[in-house]
């Protein structure tokens, strides 16, 4: 089956785009994150009175030049009704990423288009769209369901719309692994390039479940923070003793991954190289991680092995760190176990402290933060880590960003169903 393969090809990152609670635009978001700003706020756009959790991270409204979102600037009004918000956010981030990469082969470059694919996933997809359609059925208006309902809600339509917009005719795929989606999308897309299925992949994750139905569902599974409704920016506090659940966020992160020689040949700006990727399953519980954090441990170990690295060669870990009472400590334990005596030299932070948990988009936006940490030699902060619930030799970059020498970064994402993924980026060159 794979007899045509000679050796895996090297994969680099040549474009990045983001829409998240800190705004639009990679540089804008990163600057705000390093300044310790928070994108979390009380939910205003729907009634939260029946919900125990009333805060979230939502993409701020405004113009593109302000680093905020006016969807009319991005998608024609008549097309907006054909796509759930998660697809709209994916298109926004993908547009920035493609523009940033400078890779946009025209109609006369058929072969190049056929060698460019898309893999943008989502954890949940068009949940609000499904809710609206079911409301029509409930009201006896089944015939009023839009012909755009199904394509609006389907998860792989984020990849579909991006491919249609740019004419990318290579592999068109979508990952669905709950909160591990983003990392799986980046890792799997990188493999498609490494194995010669494509030269360029537009990859990432998108999520827009900050709606009554999404909030109610996660409230019911007791996953969300409910104790900081009056102080939203304090709600996401990974590893802090007062943490009480995650804060839901929405957004999208998209990266342009490219085969190294392809990128060099066209003189592309190279941000970093994808050098390792590891996965594991817990085989344990639908929502809870194993009590010893072994799934996280094995995913990180597999990523290190695939990169032929020792733990000591990683300077920064972008943690999954969602701010749940159980998950944070288990991940910390797993990292301590894997790093051993080297843990004292490691920095690890959770950028979810500033933007909340973007579910299927989390791994993709955190991949972007990981790469920027390398570029700028700085570890982004873990906001609200005022009183760690547990001591650790690992520097968790509490409250303020830290300049550090960083050339190799590991980023973790773990999802419901017991799915774990880790990816490793290294400074280019």
């Amino acid at each position: 089956m794979f007899g045509h393969l000679v050796a895996p090809r090297r994969v680099v990152v040549t474009g990045m785009g983001i829409a998240c609670p800190l705004g639009l635009g990679v540089e804008n978001v990163w600057k705000r994150m390093l300044a310790g700003e928070s994108g979390l706020a009380a939910i205003q756009n729907f009634d939260t009175s029946a919900l125990p959790a009333k805060i979230a991270g939502q993409v701020p409204l405004g113009t593109r030049s302000e680093g905020k979102l006016d969807i009319n600037e991005w998608i024609p009004v008549k097309d907006q009704k054909k796509m759930d918000r998660f697809i709209q956010l994916a298109l926004v981030a993908a547009t920035e990423a493609v523009e940033d990469s400078g890779w946009n082969p025209g109609e006369d470059q058929e072969e190049e288009r056929c060698r460019t694919g898309v893999m943008i996933g989502s954890g949940i997809g068009g949940l609000p769209t499904i809710y609206e359609a079911s409301t029509l059925i409930q009201q006896g208006k089944t015939r009023r369901i839009s012909p755009f309902f199904i394509p609006s809600a389907l998860i792989n339509l984020a990849s579909g719309h991006v491919s249609i917009k740019y004419g990318f005719k290579g592999p068109n795929h979508a990952v669905v692994t709950a909160c591990a989606t983003g990392v799986h999308a980046l890792g799997d897309a990188a493999r498609l390039i490494a194995l010669n299925d494509a030269d360029v992949m537009v990859a990432g994750g998108a999520e827009a479940a900050v709606a009554e139905i999404g909030m109610a569902g996660f409230c019911a599974s007791r996953a969300l923070s409910v104790g900081f409704n009056d102080n939203p920016t304090k709600g996401s506090r990974p590893w802090d003793r007062d943490r009480d659940g995650f804060v839901m966020g929405e957004g999208a992160g998209v990266l342009v991954l490219e085969e190294l020689e392809h990128a060099k040949a066209r003189g592309a700006k190279i941000y970093a190289e994808v050098i390792g990727y590891g996965m594991s399953g817990d085989a344990y519980h639908i929502t809870a991680p194993t009590e010893d954090g072994d799934g996280a441990f094995r995913a990180m170990r597999a990523a290190l092995k695939s990169a032929s690295l020792q733990p000591s060669q990683i300077q920064y870990v972008n943690a999954h760190g969602t701010s749940t009472p159980m998950g944070d400590d288990l991940e910390l334990q797993a990292v301590e176990r894997l790093w051993g005596d080297e843990a004292k030299n490691l920095a690890m932070s959770s950028t979810k402290s500033a933007i909340g948990h973007l579910l299927g988009a989390a791994g993709a936006v955190e991949g972007i933060f990981s790469i920027l940490a390398i570029r700028d030699s700085v570890a982004p902060p873990t906001l609200n880590l005022e009183n760690p619930s547990r001591e650790s030799p690992i520097d968790r970059v509490a409250l303020e960003a830290q300049p550090r020498k960083i050339d190799t970064v590991l980023s973790n994402s773990f999802g419901f169903g017991g799915t774990n993924a880790s990816i490793i980026f290294r400074k280019a060159g």
Binding site: K78, K82, R143, P147, F148, P151
Partner: protein, 79 residues
């Protein structure tokens, strides 16, 4: 121009996002106004909603121009 024609054209402009001037009576949704097959399904649904009429699928398939829509709706209303 009849009220029906005005209302039909307004719905077409809104749903297909086209210039009002392009929505002539003779205009074809697909050939002239850039609609695809799903757009036309949605358009017919919008006509049903706006005029309180029911347009069965076999009739809907024959509504391909602005004029087809106006004629069908006026016939239904006078029936």
């Amino acid at each position: 121009m009849s009220d029906t024609a005005d209302k039909v054209k307004k719905i077409v402009v809104e749903h297909l996002g086209v210039e009002e001037s392009k929505v002539t009576t003779e205009a074809s949704f697909i050939d002239d106004l850039g609609a695809d097959s799903l757009d036309t399904v949605e358009l017919v649904m919008a006509f049903e909603e706006a005029f309180g009429v029911e347009i069965p699928d076999d009739a809907a398939e024959k509504i391909t121009t602005v004029k087809d829509a106006i004629d069908y709706i006026e016939k239904q209303k006078s029936a």
